[in-house]
Amino acid sequence: MSELTKLTLKAALAGLKARDFSSVDITKAHIEAIEQARGLNAYVLETPDKALAMAAESDARLARGEGGALEGAPLGIKDLFCTDGVRSTAASKILGNFVPAYESTVTSQLWRDGGVMLGKLNLDEFAMGSSNETSAFGPVINPWRRNGSEAALTPGGSSGGSAAATAADLCLAATATDTGGSIRQPAAFTGTVGIKPTYGRCSRWGIIAFASSLDQAGPIAKTVEDAAIMLRSMSGHDVKDSTSLPVKVPDFASYVGRSVKGLRIGVPKEYRMPGMPAEIEKLWVDGIAWLKDAGCEIVEVSLPHTKYALPAYYIVAPAEASSNLARYDGMRYGLRAGGPSLTDVYEESRAQGFGEEVKRRILIGTYVLSAGYYDAYYLKAQKVRRRIADDFDQAWQTCDALLTPTAPSAAFGLGEQSDDPIAMYLNDIFTVTTNLAGLPGLSLPAGRDAQGLPLGLQLIGRALDEGTLFSLAGALEKAAGFTAKADRWW
């Protein structure tokens, strides 16, 4: 039975449709795998009863020859998505046992298409972090280990649960979100595929907000095509999110396998960072060669404001977070502590409910927005953000997509970077620019370092041009031939 968990989403959907096995079969196989993998701490809530009930409904539809694009497929949901009647926490103590009375638009579309919910996946608290160590439930452990070592590594963050669960075959695919790199860096650290689509592609309604102008949902999956299948179901205009785009959703999977001949690939020279491990530099060179072999034209481009993206992000994101997280006041839901005065309750509930990194970001955000500093910080950052977006517009004059490494290192050990916030922030150095500019970015596994850990390459595309990214990623996936899985130790 455990073989069923090893299937790709695409193969599982084909097997379900052909009735080779039932949704209950494959759902049970995943529930067992999850029970055996609790040491990874990937799930913060398992919902086996709900999963089996949904699977039985899928089987009934499949038996009638009906069924949607994801019919019967067991999926994991990042615990930042509100799920009707199922505890949703953002991995924060401040939400306590919050049980939404509504369903996020993205997850409702997965269920519309026949997806089966296995449970809620761990993440950094409010998606603020790059190592999963800020979670109130404790960190997720990466299924990958260094050769000959038992040291616990981070799966990356913030979507560490989504990435680890997908890599360890604890779901066929998972939802995730990306504000500065939170889909792509964990995908790179776990040998999985992740895409942050164009801002506005997926509705943000019902996703617990972090930084509204940067947050975007996307999938983490085992293959490029699986990611394309997931993204199609997750995307689409939603009147409940005024920033969601009223555009048609393409059949993303149809782009995988298309020829990439003649596409111009930009290689941004500013992404060559001093101190970058030689293996990542080499992987990048390999990626360039693979795309050249596939008929692409390689052009050097310049994105001169790249180094200012992270500092700009660490004004914009905390500023928006300080505003979004003002709602957690202990009055209507979540933790209430302290008293007797109203201010005491506010201050004590928030002191006890938020973790250290979340508090740090709220304080930075409050500071940069406070009287007298707004122009110097927030307005300046929004102007730099414009310059970063202009850099990309300039690049699109000479190329159709960009190829870069996803992260400046392979997965690191738990605790190795947690003492230095800025070192942690640098994890997002190659990914954050696309959030600031609203562009799509995809990470796929393309090689391993000397210690056997997976490394990712990132493709960045024009707004709404995820199709080209899927074609290019398909070509790279084929050339790289990355099929390694973490040896099971859990």
Binding site: V99, S213, A326, R332, E347, Y367, I422
Partner: protein, 95 residues
């Protein structure tokens, strides 16, 4: 624009987060490290640059000002830390 303990106290108060007195100085140091790293943005010439307020160049849509859903007190109160008779119970606000 160095941040001192008094600034942290003020900002924490604005953010409604209680920070114990002994945390103010360490927090000031942490925030100073981050803010001075952020201040490299001053190197960027942004004269005449329009601040980016939206990543997608579309006008925000308008909708009709009508009730779409509501009138469901029990669902709204279902997560309340304290409620009674269809109301949230909150600490006394007016003396």
């Amino acid at each position: 624009m160095a941040i001192d303990a008094a600034t942290v106290r003020k900002v924490a108060r604005l953010a409604r987060i209680r920070e114990p007195e002994e945390r103010l100085e360490p927090l000031a140091q942490e925030l100073n490290t981050i803010i001075s790293w952020i201040e490299q943005l001053e190197e960027v010439n942004t004269d005449g640059v329009e601040p980016m307020t939206s990543v997608v160049a579309v006008a925000l849509p308008l909708r009709d000002d009508v009730v779409t859903e509501g009138g469901d007190t029990s669902r709204i109160l279902s997560n309340a830390p304290k409620s009674a008779d269809g109301f949230f119970i909150v600490p006394k606000v007016v003396e």
